[in-house]
């Protein structure tokens, strides 16, 4: 899709303005704390109706206001208008597509087809497993039908089962949740593992292209694919160290099973059922569910002399930033493939922490891969590295954009 018009009302410091974007995109240039990231945050808000940096809606509302609105007019095969509004006084949020209120936010997810990358994304790689699960959940919610529902049902069954375990009076009652937990958990596991299996190759080649030759890999580690308490203890101690490399194989096995569709999902469900039975005594003791996709991870590794090591624990700063950017490029490629539209790239000060060589290779990669709209921010003209000479330049100051 191409973002044509963006109407802003009291989103952060952006005030009331209407912007018309060139189809090719724009470079937004401004000093620190002027609102560059806020602008990208507003655009991406229309993709999934929350802040990409995890801010609450109240924090997105201009300091002296109760209500904010964002509206985007998109051009593409099927032009569409997406709008979102939040009223802090009643804590009410409304989302509409072409003027019709969406019954659930998830029904309006992914209309932009946008990917956003910011330097803070390095925590995709250096953060804990929860950060990577969240990444997968967002990518799959936006790109795979059925994922949102499976994930929500899984989370609900998990929360209910844990609550039943905590009441302690009748722990057996907790097992009533096993069926839904397995059914939806297996689907969540399979869709994630399938995604990881499908994109492992592109991820490796992005990493290699950006770093200039590093051999990186990506694999999904499914909890249901690892047996016994030893693996569990290894995962709990931070998922780093040599132990984890052994576990990657387990993840691949699940990936392979998942990739075989309906039959694979039945196999994963069977494995999950076994895991639940195995861990039942420890679930009762700890009063929570210890097995399932809420413990999974996306394992990113890079080849060091003689062995493969997790980037999270052993990668250099440059390797971590490379892996994070490669994940985002894979996300963009997922949009291209699943939705059949050229993704909108939102690049927030993207080159800030990359060395020169990496920056140049990223620029080359983006220019070669992506024919779509690019909205990038940078503190100064010299940081706008994209070579498209015709890319428009906007200035931003105190939230006010000058086209």
């Amino acid at each position: 899709m191409v973002l044509r018009d963006l109407e802003l009302r009291h989103f952060r410091n952006l005030g009331v303005q209407t912007l018309r974007f060139p189809p090719e995109g724009v470079a937004v240039i401004g000093d620190n704390a002027q609102g560059k990231t806020n602008l990208l945050e507003a655009i991406y808000y229309l993709e999934c109706f929350r802040s990409f940096r995890g801010a609450r809606d109240a924090e997105l509302t201009a300091f002296s206001e109760d209500v904010f609105h964002v509206k985007g007019v998109l051009e593409g095969e099927r032009p569409v208008t997406v709008a979102a509004g939040f009223d802090g006084s009643g804590k009410a949020k409304k989302v509409s597509v072409d003027g019709k209120e969406a019954p659930r936010f998830s029904a309006a997810f992914g209309r932009l087809g946008a990917m956003i990358f910011a330097p803070a994304d390095v925590d995709l790689v250096s953060g804990g497993p929860a950060r990577r699960r969240q990444f997968l959940d967002v990518v799959l919610s936006l790109n795979r039908s059925g994922y949102v529902k499976a994930l929500q049902s899984y989370r609900k069954a998990l929360a209910q089962r844990n609550a039943a375990l905590r009441t302690g009076a009748n722990p057996q009652a907790a097992r009533a949740w096993d069926g839904t937990l397995v059914e939806h958990g297996a689907r969540v596991t399979c869709l994630r593992a399938e995604w990881a299996a499908a994109w492992a190759e592109p991820f490796a080649s992005y990493c290699s292209a950006i770093s200039g030759g590093d051999r990186a890999a990506l694999a999904y580690r499914a909890d249901v694919g690892t047996a016994g308490d030893g693996a569990e203890a290894g995962a709990e101690s931070g998922g780093s160290g040599a132990g984890v490399v052994g576990v990657v194989g387990g993840g691949d096995a699940v990936g392979a099973a998942a990739a075989t569709g309906e039959a694979g999902e039945a196999q994963v469900a069977e494995a999950y059922r076994r895991r639940l039975a195995e861990s039942w005594p420890s679930d009762v003791r700890r009063q929570r569910t210890t097995a399932g996709p809420h413990r999974d991870d996306l394992i990113l590794t890079v080849e060091a002399p003689g062995r493969r090591v997790p980037v999270r624990a052993f990668g250099s700063g440059g390797q971590r930033r490379t892996a994070a950017l490669a994940l985002r490029l894979v996300e963009a490629a997922t949009i291209r493939q699943q939705r059949g539209t050229e993704p909108i790239l939102l690049l927030d000060d993207a080159f800030a922490e990359l060395d020169d060589g990496r920056s140049q290779r990223v620029v080359a990669l983006v220019e070669e891969e992506s024919a779509g709209q690019v909205v990038l921010t940078a503190p100064s003209e010299s940081d706008v590295r994209l070579r498209r000479p015709s890319l428009a330049r906007w200035r931003i100051r105190g939230g006010v954009i000058e086209a």
């Binding site: 529902k149 609550a163 905590r166």
Partner: protein
């Protein structure tokens, strides 16, 4: 506290009614005729004085037992289990079910403090053990939500040792809906539950 304030406070306790709506309703009532208000009050009085759960099935009624349980033409070999009393009406309106009902009074939800002891499971078990005519089938018509599903599973576990057939409502694509707008999970369920087409 003024009379209007206490009315607002009572209205706010109803499900789905926040303060704004409660105020609107209260002022709507006050603006209308005193007659209308008294009729509403009388209706509430009537319900409060006369309506109670049927001692057999848990559905609401004014008689000693509810009309369904009292009706000699109903098929006593089948009991349809629902979460809430208002769901009995939904099934009755189809005109397709001739058996008896059992109202659980909710669904398992430990997050809200609702465990097995809070639901009318015991009543159901004693009906199967004791009822004249021996129910031979129990239809679990709890909702297709995560909670409804768990409730059905739990009940199935309780019923298994008894010699009774336990069935569950089919899940699938709602009549009148376009495939394009049905979510993947529902389509997958409908696929799994597909049936032969008879010529």
């Amino acid at each position: 506290m003024s009379s209007i304030d206490s009315l607002v406070r009572e209205l706010r306790r109803l499900p789905g009614i926040g303060s704004k709506t409660a105020y609107r309703l209260a002022f709507h009532l006050v603006k209308g005729s005193a007659e209308d208000m008294k009729r509403l009050a009388a209706a509430l009085h009537g319900v409060a004085d006369r309506v109670h759960p049927c001692p057999v099935c848990g559905n609401y009624c004014e008689e000693r037992v509810c009309p369904v349980c009292a009706d000699p033409r109903r098929d006593r070999s089948v009991i349809c289990v629902v979460e809430e009393a208002y769901e009995v009406g939904a099934i009755e309106r189809t005109g397709r079910f001739k058996g008896l009902f059992h109202v659980l009074g909710g669904r398992l939800s430990p997050l809200d403090g609702v465990g097995p002891e809070a639901l009318a499971f015991d009543g159901l078990l004693s009906r199967i053990d004791g009822e004249a005519g021996e129910p031979s089938e129990v239809i679990l018509a709890t909702n297709a939500s995560v909670e409804g599903e768990a409730t059905a599973v739990y009940l199935e576990g309780l019923l298994r040792p008894l010699s009774v057939r336990v069935t569950r409502l089919a899940r699938g694509i709602p009549v009148g809906s376009d495939l394009e707008y049905v979510d993947g999970t529902t389509i997958a369920e409908a696929l799994a539950g597909r049936r032969e087409m008879s010529a």
